[in-house]
């Protein structure tokens, strides 16, 4: 870098006046901000006891769950699309011919390494039957690494635990379908409804 480079513009520091030299206006300015925050409504919460409400629970990406179908069986058809989509390679499935008449294939083993997972939500997007979903649970912890590899039973139990507060997408789709045009009627929910109905055709791809 050279001084006579024409692209460089040299700026001179402005001279400070009398009041600026006393720092009093700046002092008053800063103190005003402090006082304003003192009287404002607080945004921090006392975490373990108090929790934030989710503005958009559907978009939050917390711990996974494996949804159940109407008969309480695992909804997953073991197509391995989530393992294919997973950039962290944290999903491990073992498939087998299913014992049920209306389904061909099902997962015998379904493990997610929650420590390896990066919570990107690609598995949820890839799933053709909306069987895997990310919940709003975020405070997952364990005593060992092995404990953090969630198996099928654990993931299904998360579904049982969260289905009340967060109904699975396929149930909401069904409600939309049964509600007919009323659901797609308007308001802020319109975009989401149209999205879910278009997904529902893909959701029926299998069995």
């Amino acid at each position: 870098m050279q001084q006579e480079d024409p692209r460089i513009r040299w700026v001179k520091e402005p001279e400070m006046g009398f009041w600026e030299k006393t720092y009093l206006p700046l002092f008053a300015d800063g103190l005003t901000t402090t006082v304003r925050h003192l009287v404002r409504r607080k945004v921090t919460v006392q975490f373990p006891e108090e929790r934030h409400a989710f503005a958009e629970p559907l978009r939050y990406r917390g711990v996974h769950r494996l949804n159940r179908d109407q008969q309480g069986r695992v909804k997953c058809v073991a197509c391995f699309l989530c393992t294919t989509a997973c950039p962290a390679h944290c999903i491990d499935i073992e498939a087998a011919p299913s014992p049920w008449l209306d389904r061909e294939k099902y997962p015998v083993r379904f493990n997610i390494d929650e420590l390896r997972c990066i919570f990107c939500g690609m598995c949820e997007e890839a799933c053709p039957v909306n069987a895997i979903e990310l919940t709003t649970l975020y405070d997952l912890s364990g005593h060992s690494r092995e404990e953090m590899i969630f198996d099928k039973e654990k993931l299904l139990s998360i579904y049982d635990q969260t289905k009340g507060a967060e109904p699975p997408l396929w149930m909401m789709q069904r409600a939309v379908q049964e509600g007919g045009a009323a659901g797609a009627g308007g308001g802020s929910d319109e975009s989401r409804h149209s999205e879910t109905t278009s997904e529902s055709s893909a959701g029926q791809t299998v069995g």
Binding site: C79, T84, A95, D102, R103, E104, K105, Q204, V206, G207
Partner: protein, 543 residues
């Protein structure tokens, strides 16, 4: 030389060559989609996917006359001046129509179909089908039918009849047939006559869609997770070329690799389902030394220090090479044992046999010799010790206590030695056994070294017809197991990683039988007799 014109590209072929439209186009680098045609089977021209425009070009005037209708390329013999147009709008329309028709009755359950990812219907639909569907297609679950060795997903079938023709023309037992007619056609077997022949697994590879499913592989892996490497089947002396498909060091599937000189497009079921042995929990693991009754694990570096010393002080040495070793392993083992004792007695272990050779009507042959490399190992042994002892002579010498130290380089996949024979070998002061599975011999050996299975070793095999083929390593051996090749490489004090290619060049340069293997070895292997033929012609020049 006769010429044909494919999409304006000129291809040449020799006079006697019998090409059809698909083969000629492939030579020009153009793929014509097809379901029912397969190079190994007769032509039926039933799927109509390969329809192209056909014409002839007059060699003198250069005028081209096209036929008004589309013709199946698989059934169009290429003559001098044949013109094919494969990318016109007319052809594209015909292909889209075939795709649409096939999808009318196809359950679109790709997400749970094992063929997804290597399915012709899927691939062709993306390439040649239309995105828009005119018929209302509701996905459904396919019906399943047990055909014996294979499961049939009835509704996924596109009626190409490849499997039916295979059982009639190649395996010869004709178990499969087509029942009903028209749109109701289905593949089936006669009652009480299920599909169960030694080649039945090939119909799964032949099936262009997911209709025929391998019971062993069903739902084990999605095919796009598998990585394949070229290998050689080691279960008989035919030495079929295979693809070994693995994911995370576990072999899930073995498929035939096209080799016109050995197995064409087929392999037998024994070879196809041989992979569970690689992951057999009964396999020997690691390296152990027997001290009294106790088994002490030995790590690799300690082994390299101990073995030479103990063998040197053992007295007369003897080596048994199993016919399951690769050429390189046998050579390194002989070289090493001879470096310790120049009079070491080298023999080839028992050759497993089972019944008689099986010859199928399509030309496929399953050898009765159940080992991959008898020829190669025998030639190596004969080079190091011309007129060396046979297995029974060697065994008798061992029984008389003539050997101080014995190295048994095994690798047999089936039980190969009985208790009394093992005790005969045990007469030696020091017994080192390298094998895949526990045997009566490994139970009484001083050192037991776990060997590498066929997918874990890299090297070359010589089959019953003197063809040398190279197998690549597909998976890593279990932790602690050292295949014979790398171990010998280290014992010989060679530096760097085990390099079977370099060893083979040494073998080829030293031993006349292997001279043909000096250069690059093609995927289909090389016939080691070509040099011997050349020698014969040199001695008797044609006047």
């Amino acid at each position: 030389m006769p010429k044909a014109y494919i999409d304006g590209r000129e291809i040449e072929f020799s006079m006697g060559e019998r090409l059809n439209g698909i083969q000629a186009a492939a030579r020009a680098g153009i793929a014509i989609p097809h379901y029912c045609w397969h190079p190994g089977l007769s032509v039926v021209g039933s799927c109509r996917m390969c329809l192209v425009e056909v014409g002839t070009r007059d060699t003198e005037s250069g005028r081209i006359i096209m036929l008004p209708k589309l013709m199946p390329a698989c059934n169009t013999p290429i003559k001098d001046g044949t013109v094919l147009v494969t990318h016109s709008e007319k052809v594209a329309r015909a292909r889209a129509m075939v795709e649409e028709d096939l999808l009318l009755r196809h359950p679109i359950d790709c997400s749970i179909c094992d063929k997804a990812g290597e399915c012709s219907l899927q691939d062709y639909h993306f390439r040649y089908g239309t995105a828009e569907r005119r018929a209302e297609i509701r996905p459904f679950t396919s019906r399943k039918r047990d055909l014996g060795d294979i499961t049939l997903f009835v509704d996924r079938c596109v009626m190409c009849s490849r499997c039916v023709r295979f059982t009639r023309e190649i395996s010869g037992a004709s178990e499969l047939l087509i029942i009903r007619r028209g749109a109701h056609e289905e593949i089936d077997v006669l009652p009480e006559q299920p599909l169960n022949n030694p080649l039945s697994g090939n119909v799964v590879d032949l099936c262009p869609v997911g209709a025929l499913a391998d019971k062993e592989f069903l739902y084990k892996q999605r095919v796009w997770h598998l990585r394949r490497s070229p290998g050689i089947c080691t279960l008989c002396a035919t030495g079929c070329s295979i693809w070994i498909e693995q994911n995370q060091d576990r072999v899930y599937r073995i498929k035939p690799r096209e080799n016109p000189q050995v197995n064409h497009w087929w392999i037998c079921n024994a070879g196809r389902y041989s992979y569970p042995r690689i992951h057999d929990p009964k396999r020997l693991r690691g390296t152990v030394r027997r001290t009294g009754e106790a088994l002490v694990p030995v790590d690799g570096k300690a082994l390299l220090r101990e073995l030479p010393d103990r063998l040197r002080s053992a007295g007369r040495l003897a080596l048994m090479l199993s016919p399951f070793l690769t050429v390189e392993e046998a050579y390194l083992a002989c070289a090493w044992i001879r470096s310790l004792d120049t009079q070491a007695q080298i023999t080839v272990g028992p050759i497993p046999r089972d019944g008689e050779d099986q010859q199928f009507s399509g030309g496929f042959r399953i050898s009765a010799q159940k080992c991959p490399n008898r020829k190669g190992v025998e030639e190596i042994a004969a080079y190091f010790q011309p007129g060396g002892p046979t297995w029974s002579e060697w065994l008798n010498a061992a029984g008389r206590g003539e050997f101080g130290g014995i190295w048994v380089a095994g690798g047999y996949v089936d039980p190969w030695i009985d208790g009394p024979t093992a005790r005969q070998v045990r007469r030696a002061g020091l017994l080192i056994v390298q094998d895949l599975f526990p045997t009566p011999l490994s139970d009484i050996a001083d050192y037991v070294l776990a060997a590498g299975a066929f997918a874990e070793t890299e090297g070359s095999y010589v089959n019953a017809r003197h063809r040398l083929q190279v197998a690549r390593r597909a998976v890593r051996p279990p932790w602690g197991n050292r295949p014979c090749g790398p171990l010998m490489w280290d014992l010989l004090g060679r530096t760097g990683l085990y390099d079977p290619r370099r060893v083979l060049s040494e073998v080829a340069a030293e031993i006349p039988y292997f001279h043909a293997a000096l250069g690059e070895i093609p995927d289909i292997g090389i016939d080691l007799r070509i040099n011997q033929l050349a020698e014969v012609t040199q001695r008797q020049p044609v006047v």
